[in-house]
């Protein structure tokens, strides 16, 4: 067995690590079940179905609306909405008993939401819009989208965005304008759920993984094997590199196993349709400035998550090598991931930009999609995601070097 083999054996034979792996499996199973159950379908009597069965029914409902969201589809959708509203009794349109309406809208809900958002400035209520919107207005749908988003952006300026430079404002509008239109729409629940639920899975999995990684370096101290280890021929060189590789291997295997199993189960259960659909075709991503398809969005989420795992993983290893304390090694990165969750109410643009550079965004691309963090690099305006990926890739490499250096020159008193 090679040095790497023995380093791997140290990790996998440790009882605490075996328990961690079981906990990770439980976490993945729970996350899969939670994500699949998020999809709901309701019949006219208000009886809800969740999970795979709901996905099958919803897919059937959305089938006729799958395609490009052009003038024809919009007109057809408006007519259908009018028909739904005109044939549903008034008392079943609002309040808690609006199941018949909700049930009939399920297939067209995404398009209805997009119409509502685009024409929100003209009509007070959705019902009014359905009643009064003219087919010829629909030709301005994408134009209205840019207008509505620009207004929303500049209104947000009232609580902290006012300090954006002209360059930044222009960049935002250009981003909205450059969205590929007409949108591709249809059933996309598998991709929505898999991307929305991944951040929680990633955060908890990373915290569990941190306990495992913290031991790779600090166990030599807690087992008191450090004195022998460090005065061996390869203790400060080849074996340290083996430890760094084991860290990489543990992060990579565990990350891709968690994400892979989760994605397979969720997409297998809810379907992979909608991979090529425009991200903004889902109302919750209406205002995002990142123009991409659901598949690209998924790849960005998992790629960025992997980058976050590598960064936090090596940070844990470096702290554990430096302090010899696995507790501290787990605590610091965990705080780094969790603290920003409590800082949403910060209105200072500068502080928001600083928070925007924290590594938790790497694990939460769906949230990052919604925030307006802009940075100027060499006169070019760029977005948060374009900054943090290269930034943390470089920092990860630096941490690998620091870990090696720490072990190479460690003194044992």
């Amino acid at each position: 067995m090679s040095l790497m083999g023995f380093e791997w054996k140290k990790v996998v034979t440790k009882r605490a690590n075996q328990i961690l792996l079981i906990l990770l499996a439980v976490l993945v199973a729970y996350s899969c079940s939670r994500a699949v159950r998020q999809v709901e379908w309701m019949d006219g009597s208000g009886n809800a179905v969740n999970g795979h069965a709901a996905a099958v029914k919803l897919r059937r409902e959305k089938e006729q609306w799958t395609g490009v969201l052009d003038q024809t589809t919009l007109e057809k959708a408006l007519a259908h909405l009018r028909e739904i509203y005109s044939t549903t009794p008034q008392d079943l349109q609002q309040g808690e008993n609006n199941w018949p309406l909700r049930s009939r809208l399920q297939g067209i809900q995404d398009i209805a939401d997009l119409l509502g958002l685009a024409f929100a400035d003209t009509y007070d209520t959705f019902e009014e819009m359905v009643e009064k919107l003219q087919p010829e207005d629909l030709s301005r749908f994408y134009e209205k989208r840019v207008e509505a988003l620009s207004v929303q952006f500049f209104e947000e300026g009232n609580w902290g965005y006012a300090n954006y430079t002209e360059n930044e404002k222009q960049y935002i509008v250009e981003q909205y304008q450059s969205a590929r239109t007409p949108f591709a729409v249809g059933y996309q629940e598998g991709w929505v759920q898999v991307t929305e639920q991944l951040p929680s899975l990633m955060k908890y999995a990373l915290i569990l993984l941190s306990f495992l990684l913290a031991g790779i370096f600090s166990d030599e101290f807690s087992w008191k094997t450090d004195a022998v280890y460090y005065n061996t021929y390869y203790g400060r060189t080849k074996s340290t590199i083996a430890k760094l590789w084991i860290g990489f291997l543990a992060i990579t295997v565990i990350y891709w196993l968690c994400v892979g199993v989760f994605s397979l189960v969720v997409l297998g259960s809810l379907g992979t349709e909608g991979a090529a659909q425009t991200l903004q075709s889902d109302a919750s991503y209406w205002s995002t400035r990142y123009n991409m398809t659901f598949l690209q969005y998924y790849l960005l989420t998992v790629g960025s998550g992997y980058c976050g795992f590598l960064f936090v993983g090596y940070l844990v290893m470096w702290i554990s090598a430096k302090t010899r304390s696995p507790i501290l090694a787990v605590l610091i990165p965990s705080l780094l991931l969790l603290i920003p969750m409590f800082l949403h109410e910060i209105y200072s643009l500068f502080l928001r930009k600083v928070i925007g550079l924290l590594p938790h965004w790497l694990l939460d691309i769906p949230q990052a999609m919604h925030y307006v963090y802009l940075y100027q690099v060499g006169g070019q305006v760029t977005s948060l995601i374009s900054i943090i990926l290269p930034l943390y890739s470089c920092l990860t490499l630096l941490l690998v070097f620091l870990c090696y250096r720490e072990y190479r020159y460690k003194q044992i008193a």
Binding site: M1, S2, L3, F6, K9, K10, T13, K14, R15, W223, K224, T225, D226, A227, V228, Y229, Y230, N231, T232, Y233, Y234, G235, R236, T237, S239, Q411, I412, A413
Partner: protein, 297 residues
Amino acid sequence: MELTITELTKDFRKTRAVSQVNYTFQSGVYGLLGVNGAGKTTLMRMITTLLKPTAGTITWDGQDVVQMDKDYRRILGYLPQDFGIYPDFTVQDYLLYMAPLKGIRPVLAKARAEEMLRMTGMTQHRKLKMKALSGGMKRRAGIAQAVINDPKILILDEPTAGLDPSERIRFRNLISELATDRVVLLSTHIVSDVESMAGQIILMKNGKFVMTGSSEELIRNCPDRGWLCDVPKKQVNDCCLKYRVSSIKTMADHAKLRILSREMPMPGAVLEETTLEDVFLSCFGERSGDESDHGVV
């Protein structure tokens, strides 16, 4: 084959643990004796490159060991006082791991591990997990790892601490077998161990070498002598306050005291042969009682 330390000094904040020590070690066994805090472990950790000296140098055959880096560690074997283990490794796994870690080529690792198991009498325990080993077996695994690379310099820090008498004898014999053609430096509290194993003995106090030489030389140069005195029971306490007493044997109406003194301490005292324990007590005085767990005084 020469390990030389020159003006070797180590400071920890305001404490000087090792102070300007000079010595040359050649092939043979060297016993390092000293009370707790004398600087033995710090000295050993500097020799094993685990600690950087504050000042001074360590050279092996004229080459600075810091410059030699891993080439120096290739010829080094070390058994620390707190010998730690990988709890879930078997003894065999452990040796198979230590072999490549110490630069032994993979093709030779297995044979070398087998040899070490045989040498330390651990062959039948090879499949035992290390967490299941007794204290004595752990020490044997420790010495096996220390010599698996056939080191030119073998550093053993308190190798017999915590072992029962039969394990200690076994261990002493093992070290004596290993002593040929290498520098062996061992520290211990157990004077009899040093006496039976070490050709040269170094007494270390307050970070300095205070006496060096063979057992006979140290005894010869010791200013104190051992006197056997019969003392009435009620005078025992007074004698303990007045003299260095290395042993007390209480009889029915009196006590037999072994007193260390340059002159005859009292009329009727019988001069006895000076031992290495007397030298130790003479050198370290009352402080040697701090760690009299193995009957040093």
